[in-house]
């Protein structure tokens, strides 16, 4: 099989799950009306397939900041910070992130994906070990592969399993990086951070926590799982993204370890990438300010999450263990998931379709992302529609 034939085989496997014409992946969005509504084809749809958790995509403060940055500094930096320099905005955003997490250092990356890629591949290398949760995001897997370190998985959120694997590593634990996530993107469940920290200390490892989905969502000031657990000082490195609660694009790593700064000189995903544009940095800075003061947004977000989670549970759906901004209906087969997804779209609701192997345990998911800008009426309509469509699962097993 030559290179192109391999792609043909991969395309055939994809089409077997998702026939041509079903645009579940990369669906064309013609117009965006607000944080909660857009047009897909001729339909005005409710958006529950975005990660706009605080609903800030149209926040006037962020839009104004982006406009002013373009006017002052142009549309792009045209290269990496190593070569083209660090703008005032890049340095300011790093100071603001360090302050937000009460840490000594912060590094801004061009995407959230690169934040994990760059941090992990900068921290570990061949001969080291990374111990990762089995449900880790692809950016974590890819960062581990790029690093050349030995990659060991533990069962998702299973601390007995994690300790077993730590024990097997013997004295290699000294050069082991444990990686977990504040909120996992598939089922919306949270890492058992208290237990992870206990094991990290007992075995003398370094811990990295990815707060991509929990930044802005968890904690009084929105720091994430480190805030709700009070374990900020126990986590060695925190990564996250700007593309969810902060409504732009980019990523970060913060730490109290002074060695974080060395990543700027060894991490290829940091060095060999154009730096974030002035508008991106400016809107992120404005959004971070809103996020820090946004306890009212978090309150509304959690009311919406609880309302939808409760309604779907009542309607007979199997869900992840915790209510949260990621609420996934777990179904047995891709056919069930596809039918439900298509019918929701016909009822003007856009959600995410997730098929194996992306979904855990060989299941398929119809995943909702709730945000603070959704009204109780919108959430009610989504919950009622899901419940009305539940019988489809029996007809499409």
């Amino acid at each position: 099989m030559n290179l192109l034939e391999k792609l043909d085989a991969s395309a055939a496997a994809r089409k077997a799950l998702l026939p041509d014409g079903v645009g579940a992946f990369g669906i064309p969005i013609e117009e965006v009306y607000s944080a909660t509504e857009a047009r897909i084809g001729d339909r005005r749809v409710l958006l529950l397939g975005t990660n706009n958790y605080l609903g800030l995509t149209f926040a006037p403060e962020c839009i104004r900041a982006a406009h002013e940055a373009i006017d002052k500094e142009g549309t792009g930096t045209t290269g990496s910070r190593m070569a083209n320099g660090s703008y005032f905005g890049h340095r300011s955003l790093e100071r603001e992130f360090a302050d937000f997490y009460q840490c000594d250092s912060a590094i801004v990356f061009t995407t959230g994906y690169q934040a994990n890629l760059g941090t992990i591949s900068g921290l570990v290398g061949p001969g080291d070990t990374v111990l990762i949760d089995g449900d880790s995001h692809a950016s974590i897997y890819d960062g581990c592969v790029l690093s050349g370190a030995d990659i060991i998985r533990f069962k998702h959120n299973d601390m007995v399993d994690m300790e077993k694997r730590l024990r097997r590593l013997g004295n290699r634990v000294e050069t082991t990086l444990i990686i977990a996530e504040g909120i996992y993107s598939m089922l919306g469940d949270q890492a058992p951070l208290t237990d992870i920290v206990k094991l990290k200390k007992a075995y003398g490892c370094i811990l990295l926590l990815d707060e991509a989905h929990s930044l802005g969502v968890l904690g009084e000031t929105g720091q994430g799982l480190v805030e709700t657990t009070g374990l900020l000082k126990e986590v060695d490195f925190i990564t996250g993204t700007f593309s969810k609660s902060l409504c732009s694009i980019g990523g970060f790593c913060v730490s109290n370890h002074p060695q974080l700064e060395q990543l700027r000189y060894v991490s290829h995903p940091y060095i060999f990438t154009a730096s974030p544009s002035p508008a991106t940095i400016a809107s992120t800075r404005a959004a971070l300010e809103l996020l820090r003061k946004g306890s009212h947004l978090r309150k509304q977000l959690w009311q919406n999450c609880t309302q939808l989670y409760t309604r779907l549970k009542e309607g007979g759906y199997l869900l992840g263990p915790h209510p949260g901004p990621v609420i996934a209906a777990i179904v047995d087969t891709p056919r069930q998931a596809l039918l439900l997804w298509q019918n929701l779209l016909e009822h003007n609701i856009y959600v995410n379709l997730i098929l194996p192997p992306a979904a855990p345990e060989g299941k398929s998911l119809v995943r909702c992302s709730v945000n603070a800008a959704h009204t109780p009426e919108q959430i009610k309509y989504v919950g009622d529609t899901f419940c009305k469509l539940h019988s489809l699962l029996c007809t499409a097993s």
Binding site: T129, G134, D150, K155, K164, P357
Partner: protein, 84 residues
Amino acid sequence: MSESNYDEIMKLLCDRLSGLSNSSIQITPETNIISQLSIDSIKLLNLIMEIEDTFDVSIPINALTDVQTVRELADLVYKIKSAS
């Protein structure tokens, strides 16, 4: 480890791969795990965790980049178990 241990590893792999695959083909040491058995990456990674537990070893998943056939997987597990 002895030859019988290698056979034990091979038998375990064949049994488990047979359970995971949707294909009806007879699994031999030369069977290609991905292209012939159509086992997706996550199922394979979960199988590795199971093998780790069975033989009480650590098998880095990046070592799987050199594994295509059942025999190559058995060789990898045997090598790691022998060194532990």
